[in-house]
Each structure stands twice: as structure tokens, then as C-alpha cells.
Symmetry: C5
Subunit: 345 residues, 5 copies
């Protein structure tokens, strides 16, 4: 489930508005970064103790020269710049993927309008069409989301959940023997067939409504296809690698370059320029900052995984089934009576 | 109510055009930042006085070394960069949310065209459909906006305002027992049912008009659904935390690093390099600048809160009710007579 | 009228292509900045002369220390960064507003197709509908544009211009007594009514054309509504203030920090490091650069004002009236004869 | 004609992929910058020789102080930043303009479907409608493109090319006497009239097809109108001037600041810090870099000029005439026979 | 085939999430950069050995002065900035091109609905229309993609693959003699003709469906035309050259500037400031970083080449043929039976 926190900071004009946000643990930067930070500090102190206690004077000299070289050059890579552009790209794609997720509500609305009537045949039609829409949704997400794949590892699981019928599973299996490509569009083709049949049987009264429903079905297909496209064609690997490599190498260099060493003769100069703080305070902050920034990308590059901040698709699937059935069936034509509203003059 | 000021600066070519803008208090950076600034300066001077009067010579030395370390490293975090990208993201989302708010005017226009006639039945139809559109609007915003939630804490409040009928409240309560999900789409389903009924009773003359009205209803649903999506899936928490943490740690470090200390021997060097100004002029400016910049994000991350600059949804709701009724009812078919205009040859 | 200059620089491959652009005065950075620059230099030299002639040796020392402090810290605010993001935002909004301005041409085209015939009734219909579209345009812009407000300060002025009839003004006044909200959509509702009436009288032959025209009318309404939205919900005040404040404080600090002072003992060091140039050449350039950059935002934040570069709405209104009448009336059905073209085999 | 080079670098994984691109002359940075660079170096060496041979010792001292002042401050203007944002804006607008150019193919496709039949009347209808579409295209581009204006300086040239008939020219001239505004939409109005006439004569069978064709005609009008909008409302002049001025002033300052001077006493310090290289290697690189970057904007700010990289509109016009006639006439209904494909089971 | 790796990093909250990504070889930065890096280091050490062993003392002095000059100025070009903007532009265009690739699924869905029935004539119609869609796709990609051109070098190869019939090839060849322009739209015109014929023969029942199918065909044409547009009008050459030149010159300068030289007298100063590391560790990292970053652009500037990360169009073509035939033919009307779902009350 995504971490929803805007409700906690409705008013930016309050004192220290974002402090509340800093206290959240689920999906927080602390939860994401602490393991890496502990590992990093462990390495840092290993080298630190080696230098302080493990090296003799000559080795120390060499170490100090190496340290100097590293400390001079860590800034040669403008990491903040490339991270800024990269994270912006990943965030953009993440949001586009979320926005592409189709909602069956509109289809249900149109079905309600297109195939009115509470008879069994009409109800069957409507229920089956929305079921197919949700089924296409599930089959697509099975491909792109780890969470959905865990919930529905096989077609049988979908059948068990009631979204697919046995006969349909058989057709899927038959088709799978012909070609292994994703067949998320099959339920949508069936839905189309149902619509055409309904028009023939005059359950749908006008061609305009057929057109409207078909457009909506094709819109759902377009969105599901796009989701697969986003999954297949990721952010180019080389981009991700360049950014991560730069970050990791930067902090490996910082392991040496940020050590507190007693440069040359222990005079006042030293005291003034590089006080020994025992704890690499700013290196730790920088680590949290940069690794946390990259974590934004790591969490969002696959928005359908199991992170705290990933989109809870299983919840959405359940919601869609319930809402769609509710719209096309339970709510059907019960209401409304035509009453005068309060402002009727 | 949002702060509208462009009307005060229509002409950028006047002398000191934006000075007028600097004098506005409502929604201003001063109003947003002054509390934080006072608190910050209080901390700054606490440390300052401690150093000047509370420490002995040895402690001062240690303090000066710490101060040196902090002053050297405060710039290691490229805050302006991450703030730039983050604020851009938040501003973009804020504006998209504002643009997603549906306006019932178009629907009312189409209803006017689709269900002409001044008889009671037609008027009832038209009034009910727009009422349902506004009702869906209110139910959605109840979820995402603190302001609307305060005005309409329960369904009963909506009934009292005349937007919902008693019978409809009962259906809502009945449905709520089945599943707790948001049911903002229910009034839209009812509106659809009304449209279909109107077509059956031949109050609507053509299928094209039915199609047009249905498309508009589904557009309203899409927008309301998207608003809920923006509310549920915020800017990833880790991004917000990384930015705020960086900012707060920067200024905590600056609390020490920007102290005016007498470094080492009190020679001319000192005088030249770090004159003691008693008031941390630039640190205060920087504080206003960076915290003010972050405040942009704090104010906009939840555009439906109670900030001076948040969107005044309650005003919009009132406006929509009035405008929608006016279009579908009061203005109906009174006008126009067909007259020749002034340029008629 | 906007300053159109791309026609002067069609070929980037010519020598010194943009030099021509630098010589334009209307809407230029010189015209926009010179007043501010003169005022700034006046302040600069006031301080300068005070220092050179007004202060005694001790005061000079203090002044020099203050100057040093200011010159060290002016760079602490990364202005170019925040300006870059802010100006990009304002330019984007400016362009979106320009693109949102509806053009009645498409509506006129559709009317031409939908209500053919040169009889008086058809002509009346077509002329009235486009008149209503332009009227809605004018009423909206009255609200958002200073220029249009000056041309049409009251409804009576619109009546005088022939865009509104007396009877319509009365309805507006009647409605204004009920609620003060903007009623730019009223002419569009009337236009809708006319279309429906035309369909009933069979002046329009098909429901598809009714649909097409209605969609275009609702598109015009959407655009006008969006323009009001852009006007009501500006760039958040706090953002504008943070940017302007940073800029102004930077240059106030530069007033002191950029003074040419004789630091400490007048040795060769001084000569080498801070030659006294009498005129703050680079500070002036920087001033033009940054203030000019901000002027981009000042000019564009209200694109409908009276700046040289603001959009000439009054010209557009005249053009729309003429073009719309021309399309729906004068050009009607005169042409074309069906002739074979030159390439007819 | 635009410079198409992606075909030469299909595989980024080859060794030195972009080296091939560096060798292209047409539209290259060398071709664009060399004149400016030669002029700049000429100025540089004029000053250089003046300093080396023309000045006496005292004048040299003054020169050296001025040089020092300039060399210290050239970096005060963050040019790369403003250039980055500015060029991004210009590139975006350039691409949007290219994408807005309408293609008559879709219209031809719809005409093919809407007015089937190989009789003379149908052929005349189809040919005339597409001719009008291309005519509107040419009349629009006459206004915005230097190249097209050179090819068609007057209406007569269009008549000679066969795109306009004599009778149509007369109507244009008649209308031009009434108002001087651009009348690119007139051919589209005629096309609409033709469509309506075709529907009346039952050459078009369904209102849906009329609707589809009308929508496409209005789409073409929208695009042409937008192109004129992009031409009229350019990137604000003040933005262009701020960027160019900053660039030019930077390099004027560099003319002095980058001179190799013998600072103070000719000791080893000098040798170490500012070796005299005789040729300002890096200043030249920087010049090519920044001026080349600005040239991107200079070339693209008017995408319809005569630069190597500008869009070849005349070629497009010829292509559109040929393709449109081919689709609506030559290809008509000849094909296809219905044959079974290879995979027919 | 693009490198799909998001499936390997579903959870950003795991320890060292992106480390897995760093280990991928196909399409990696290592595979792309190693050749350039080896060449670069070879040059570096050539110069290095020349300096250490090939030069006499005087030559060394000169070399050291040159080295000093280069090392001082390598940072004068803000490469990271221009690279950030440039790569963002290329990535945006790459993604837009991918998203423009049409999928025939929607068309097949509409055909299924529009031309129902399992008779040979209907099947022929449907199969031919989708075949034409895929044929237009292939003919377009032949032009823009190296891979597809290798698979289908001539029309004959397309005929052999079964996508084109002999008779159609002849028409293509006939048309090619008239004008050499790309004729990717010809199959779409044929498809349109088929649709019109189907309507005439009453195989399609409603004009709405004709409209829907025509809109989809024109959508496919629009996308294919846009792809050709992206191919013809690349990122302006001068932009690409400026970026590459800056990068290459930077590293050529670094060849000299980053050499480890013994500056002046070999005192402790030297040791402290420029320790000799024998291997230019950071220069190599920087090289990988910047060249890797540019490689992102090199790989993506032509998304249809043969890079590991380029889009596998041949696979897509095969998929489209299979899927389209499957939808319009094999799946047709077999299913579904109307069964009650599991949740039927």
C-alpha cells in the first residue's frame, strides 16, 4: 500500500509542517537506508582503525598520501546533477504508469446505460463484460507486478478467485500452445463479442452506445498494452548503471578521502583545517542524502513491486471487482425517483 | 481562498513591478516563515551566548574546532539542486490537481440542449442530473479536502445542504455496510439512469445527445477518480523526507558553522576573514530563502487544505450549485430572440 | 502587441544572427531594466562617495569590515538556480494561457456546414451563434485582462460595440442581482438554445452536426473557464516572493559587498587582488542579467496586461468579429464552382 | 532540408559512435561558428599585440590591472544555466511547430472513404477538397516561412503552380480589400461547402462520414492557426536578449580577462600559475562551446528559415500535392481484390 | 531486444537493490565503454611514458608548464550541465518514438465488432484489413530501422514473408516509378476501400462502426507518419556536435592536464598536493561517467538500431501478425457462452 501522508500536512502554514512527515517510519528514508548506512560505517571504521592502530609510520605516510589524493578528487563527478535528471525521469515514468492503470468504473457506467434492464440476460451480459475487463486487468498485471504474480501464480488461481471460468481457462491454455505471447486482450475480444451479440439481440438500443462502449474497451486495451510497454522497455540500463556506479564509486572514494588523518607535522595548521571529529558526521549525512535520493529511483523504477510505497494492486483488483459488479448489477435502476430538490422555487 | 495577485502586476515594464507583490501579507513568505525564523534565531543566540559567556578558554578551543569543521562542510549537500527538482514536481502536481477539478457547466450546457422544454418533468430531469454531478463532486472532495470535510463531516450535513435527499442517504448507508470504499460514482450512476430514462420517454431526441451527455458524465467521473488517485498516491514519502532532512540538517549544521568565533590568535587575519557581525545576516537570509522555497512545497503538497493559497473548494461548491441550476433551469429557453446585429448589412 | 522578431532572424547560420535582435527597443531588456539600473547605480555611488569622502579613518575600517563580510557571502544564495526553475514555470503558464484562447473560426466553419442556406433565418442563426461566442470571449477577458477592461469597462460599452443587444444586457443585469459570479457562459447557453431550435426547425439536417457544434461550444467554454482558472490561481505568492526577495537582497548586499575598498595596508596585494575600477562594471552587468531574467517573469506572469510583449487582445477581438462574420455570412456558398485542376490527367 | 544523421549512428555500441557525426559539414557547428570565431580571434590578437608591442611599461601596468579585474569576474554570470533553460525552451517550441504541420493524408483517406466512386463529379469533389487543404497550407506558410515566401511571393505564383484557380484568386483579392488579416481559412471554408454539397447530392452516404471529414478539416485549421500563433507570439524578446547579451558580454570581458600577461614581478610564481601559451586554447574552445550552444537556439528559433537544419517546406508542399492526388484519385478503388493470404489455414 | 531489468529490482527497500543491476553485461555501460576506455588509457600512458622516460629536463619543464595550463582550465566547460539537458531531450524523443509505434490490436478488436460472422468473405475482409495495417507498419519501419531493413531489404522479401501479395508489389513498383516518396499509406488506403466495400455489402451494420474503424486506421497512419517525422528531423546536428565536441575536447585536455608531474622543486608541497598515483584513478572514473552518460544518448538517438537496448522491431512484427490474425479469425465468436459468475447472488 502506498504511504499516504498529505492528509497529515494539509496546512503548510503551520509551524514546522514537514516535521510530522519526518516521523513516519513506513516507507521512510530511514527504513530504506539504515542497512546501507550501517554497512558503510562498518567499512569506514574498519579502515579507520587499521590506520590508527594497524599501520606503522611509513605505511601511515603512504596512507595519508592516498587519502589526500582521494579527498581532492571526490568532487570531480557532478553527482547531484545526474541524479536530479535521472530521478526526475524515473518519477515521471512511475506516475505515468500509475495513471495508465485503467479503472472499470467508466465501462460499468456505459454498460449500465447501454444494456438497461434487470432481466437475467441483461444482467448476465453486463456482469460478464465487466468481469472480462477485470480479467484482462489481472492477466496484464500478472506479468508486470510481483505482488499480483504472487497472488495469482497460475491461471488456476484466477479461476479459483472467480474471475475466470473453467471454459475460459481451457481456451487460454489452447492458445498458449500456439504462441507464448501475453494474451491479456483475449477477454476484451470476448467482451466485444458480447457487445455485438447484445446489439443483435436488441438489448442495446443504439449504435452510438455500441460505439461508446467499444471505445472504452479499446481504451482499456490501450492502457494495459502501455503498461506492458513500460515494463518491457525500462529506463535504459546504461543510464541506471552510470548513475549507480557514480554514486557507489563516490562513496568508495569517500571511504578513504574522508578519513581524519594527521596531515604532515601535527601543527596548528592541522588543527585549524581538519579537526578530527571521530565520527564522520557530514559523510554520514551525505550518504543518507545521496543514497536516499537514489532510493527514490530504486523504489519507483518498479512501481508494482512490494515496497511500502508501491501501488497496492491486489487491493485495487478487489476494489474493481466489487465496484464494477455494484454499478452494473446491485445499483441497477433501483434509483432514483424524481423528486424536487430543496431549491425548487 | 487562493491569493490572486497577477491583477496587481499587469505590466512588467513598470518600475519595480514585483515590489507590490512583496508587500502582500496573506499567503506571503513572511507569514509562513516568521515562526520558524524566530525559533531558529533563538537557538542561534542560545549557542552564541553560551560560547561568548558560558565557556572557559579550553572549551572555547574545542568549540572553535567543532565550529570550523561544521563551517567547512555545510556546503557538501547540494540542496538548491534537489529543492529545485522537488519543488518543480510538487508544483506540477498541484496544478494538475487544480485542473482536474471538474466543472458542471459543460454538463449543464449539454443537458440544456439534450432535454429541452420547460415542463416539470424535463426540469426535474435536468435539475436532478446536475445535482448528482455536484453531489459526486462533494463526496469526492469530502475525502481529499480538509476544508470540505469540515463543512460536510457526515452524509447528514450534505442532506441538510439540499444536495442529497433522504432516500439517497439511505442507499449510501446501505451500500456502506457492504463495503467501505469511496462511492463517489454512485450519483453519477443515478444520473446515467436518468439519462437513459429520459431517452426512453423521448425527452431526449437523439442518440448523439445521449452519447454526448454520457461522455461528459464519464469525464466527470474520470476527473474525480483521478483526484482520489492524486490523494492516495502522493509524492513518494522518501523523496519528501530526503529533501526536508537535507534542509533541516543543513541549518542545524549552520547553527554551529555560522557562529562568529575568534579563530586561533586574534590577529588581523581574523579581522579580515571573518568579521564579527553580531547578527547572522546572511544565515537569516539563507534561512528565509531555503525554508521559504520548501514552504512552496509544503503549501502545495496538499492543495485542498486550509492554507491561504489553497483552493477554496467550499466557494467552488456553492458556485457550482448556483451556476448549474441557473443554466439548466432559470435561463432555460427564455432567450434569445433572433435579432439582426449591428453589422447586418 | 507582442514583439514579433523571428522574421528578422530566419537564418541562424548568418554571421552574428542575434545581433539584430539586440538592437530592438520595443519590449527590450534595456527598456525594461534601465530605470532600475539607474536607481541602483545612484545608490551605489551614494555609498561610494560616502566611503571615499564622508568617512574618517576609523569609520572606513568599520566600513571595510562590513564590506568584507558582505562580499564574502553574496554568493550564498544560488539565485540562478531558483530563477531558472521559476522563470521556466512562468513561461510555461504564459504559453498555456495563450494557447487556451479560443478562436471562433472552427465554430464558424461548423455552423457553415451545419446551417447551410442564405435565407435570412439561417443567416440570423449563424450570425447570432458566432456573436455569442465572441461575446463570451469578451466577457471572460474583461475579467482577466487590463486592456480589455479598459476598452469595455461596463456592459454598456459592449452593447455600444454591437456585440451585445440591449435585451441581453438586461438579462445580464437581472442575473447579476442574483449572484455576482462571472457569467461568461450565458451567451454560450443561448448559442446552445439557438442550435437546438435550428435542429427543431430542421435547419440543421443531422444530429451529428448538432453534436459537432455542441462539442465545439463546450470546448470554447472549457477554454474560457480555464483562462479564468489561470487568472484566479496564480503562481503561488510565496514562490514569487522567495525569488524576488532573494534577488533584491542579493543586490542590496552587493551594494556594500562590491564597493572597491582599499583593504588593510595599501600594498601591492591590494593592487593585484582588487583593482579599483571606479565603475562597477560587472555588478552592472550582473544586475542587468538577473533583473532582466526576472523581468521575463514579471512581463509574462500576467500575459494580458499592457506590456510591449503582452498579447494584444483588443486586436484579436476585432479580428474574431470580422473573421467569424465573414466565414458564416459573406463567404457563404458563393463558392466554389467545381473546376478541373491543372493536374487533371 | 534538415540534416538527417541518425541513420549514420544506428548503433551506439560501436566504437566512437558519434565521431562520424563530428565529420558532417552541412549544418555543423563548424559551419555555423567559424566566422564568429575568426572575428573573435582577430580581436583577441589585436589586443594581444597592442599589449605586447604597443604599450610602454606604465600602460602595461594599468592594462595588467584591468586584465586582472576582468579575469576575476568573468565567472559572475552563470551563463550555462540560463543557456540550458533557454535552449530547452527554444528546442521545445521548434519541435512543437514541426509537429503542428498538418499532413493532408488523413483527409485524403477520409475523402476516399466518404466520396467513393470514379465518376468525374466524385473525382472533382475529392481533388478539389484536397487541393483546398494544400492551398490553405501554402497560404499559411507564405506568412511564416521565408522559403515559401520566396517561392510564392504573390497569389499569382500560387495560381501558376496550379494550386489556386483564377476565380479563387479574385475572391482572395476581393476579401483582401475588406480586411488585411490572414485568410488561410478561406479554402477550408470552401472545402466545407463542397462536403455539404456532396452530402446533399448523396455522394456521401452517411452523416458520420461528414462529421469525420469536418473534424479533420477543423483539425487542419487548428494546426495552421497554431502555426501562425507560434509565429506571432515568439519567445519573449527580453529572454532572448538577456541570454545573448550575457553571452556577448562574457566574451567581450574574456577578450581582456584571458590575455596572457606577465603579472607583477616575473618570478617563478608567474610561470607556475599562468603559463603563456600564445594561443588562447581554452578560450577558443569555450567560445565554440557557448556560441555553438546559442547557435542551436538561433537556428531553431525560426524553424522555417533557410538554415541547413530548417524544415524544407517546399519539398513538403510538393510531396503533399502528389500524395494527396494519388490517394484520392489514382489509387482509387483499383485495389484490392480479396485474396487469401499465405497463412490462411 | 531491449534489456528488461525492472523485474530484477521490484523492491527498492532491499539491501543494495541496484547492485544486481550493476552485474548485467548485455546493454551495460561496461560493454559500451570499455573499448573507448582502453584506447584512452593507451593514449594516457603513451604520454606518461614519454614524459617520464623520453624527455630531457628542459623538455620536462615545458611539458610541466603545458600540463599546468591544461589542468587549470579543464573545468571551464560546464559539461555536466549541457549533457543533462541534451540527454534529457534524447531520452524524451526515444520514449515518444516507442510510444508512437502503433499496435494493430485495437483495429483488430474493432474489425471483430464491425464485421462479425465466420463466412469466408467476412474472414477475408478482416484478415486483409489487419494484414494491410501490419504491411504499412513494415514498410514504414523499413525506412527508419536498420534491423527491419536488414530483414526486408526489398519488396520481394515482404512478399515472401506473406505480408504482401504479388499483385500489390506490382502496384507499389508502378507507383514507385511515378514518385520515389515513401508510400507507407498505400495499404491503409486499400484497407479503407475494403471497409467501404464491406459497408456497401452490408457486412458492417452501422455507420458508427465504419467511423470507428476509419478513425483507428487514420490513427495508425498518423503514428507511422510521425515515426518518419522523427526519423527525418533529428535532434539538430549542431546540438549533438556541441555536446560531443565538448566531451571529447575535455578528455583530450585531460590527457595532458591529469598527468602526474613533479611540479617545481620536489619538496613536501608536491607530495601533499599532487601525490603520484601511477594510475589516473579518478580520470578513469570520470571518463566512464561522462562517456557513459553520452552513450545513453548515442544508444537512444536511433531507437531502432541494433544496440542491445534498441527496440526489437522484428519480434514486434511477428507478434503483430500472429496477434492480429488470432483476434480477427481464430478467436472469432467461438466464445463466450453466457454463464453466471461465482458471485451471482
Amino acid at each position: 500500500m502506498t504511504v499516504t501522508y498529505t492528509g497529515q500536512v494539509p496546512n503548510g502554514s503551520t509551524f514546522g509542517c514537514f516535521w510530522k512527515v519526518l516521523g513516519i517510519w513506513r516507507g521512510s528514508v530511514y527504513k530504506l537506508v539504515w542497512r546501507e548506512l550501517v554497512a558503510y560505517l562498518f567499512l569506514y571504521y574498519s579502515i579507520n582503525f587499521l590506520y590508527r592502530f594497524g599501520l606503522n609510520q611509513d605505511q601511515k605516510k603512504i596512507f595519508e598520501r592516498v587519502q589526500l589524493y582521494f579527498s581532492q578528487h571526490t568532487e570531480t563527478i557532478p553527482m547531484s546533477f545526474v541524479l536530479g535528471f535521472y530521478v526526475t525521469l524515473v518519477v515521471k515514468r512511475w506516475w505515468e504508469q500509475y495513471r495508465l492503470l485503467p479503472w472499470p468504473d467508466t465501462l460499468a457506467l456505459f454498460l449500465n446505460a447501454g444494456i438497461p434492464g434487470a432481466d437475467e440476460r441483461q444482467r448476465l451480459m453486463r456482469r460478464n463484460v465487466v468481469r472480462y475487463a477485470v480479467l484482462a486487468y489481472v492477466i496484464t498485471l500478472q506479468r508486470v507486478s510481483l505482488r499480483v504474480r504472487k497472488r495469482f501464480p497460475t491461471h488456476q488461481h484466477i479461476v479459483d478467485s472467480g474471475l475466470m471460468l473453467e471454459s475460459e481457462k481451457k481456451i487460454f491454455e489452447l492458445m498458449d500452445t500456439k504462441t507464448p505471447m501475453s494474451k491479456y486482450w483475449m477477454p476484451l475480444v470476448w467482451a466485444t463479442n458480447l457487445i455485438i451479440r447484445a446489439r443483435k439481440e436488441n438489448l442495446i438500443n443504439s449504435d452510438q452506445l455500441v460505439q461508446t462502449i467499444l471505445m472504452e474497451l479499446s481504451e482499456i486495451r490501450r492502457r494495459l498494452g502501455s503498461l506492458i510497454g513500460y515494463d518491457t522497455v525500462c529506463v535504459p540500463l546504461v543510464y541506471t548503471q552510470v548513475v549507480s556506479l557514480a554514486l557507489y564509486l563516490y562513496f568508495i572514494a569517500a571511504l578513504l578521502g574522508r578519513q581524519f588523518v594527521a596531515v604532515g607535522p601535527p601543527k596548528e595548521v592541522t588543527t585549524k583545517e581538519h579537526p578530527d571529529m571521530y565520527f564522520p558526521f557530514f559523510t554520514a549525512i551525505q550518504f543518507c542524502f545521496y543514497v536516499g535520493w537514489l532510493k527514490v529511483a530504486e523504489v519507483l523504477i518498479n512501481p508494482f513491486g512490494e515496497d511500502d510505497d508501491d501501488i497496492e494492486l491486489n487491493w485495487l483488483i478487489d476494489r474493481h471487482i466489487k465496484a464494477a459488479y455494484m454499478i452494473v448489477d446491485e445499483m441497477h435502476e433501483e434509483h432514483p425517483e424524481l423528486l424536487k430538490d430543496q431549491y425548487w422555487d
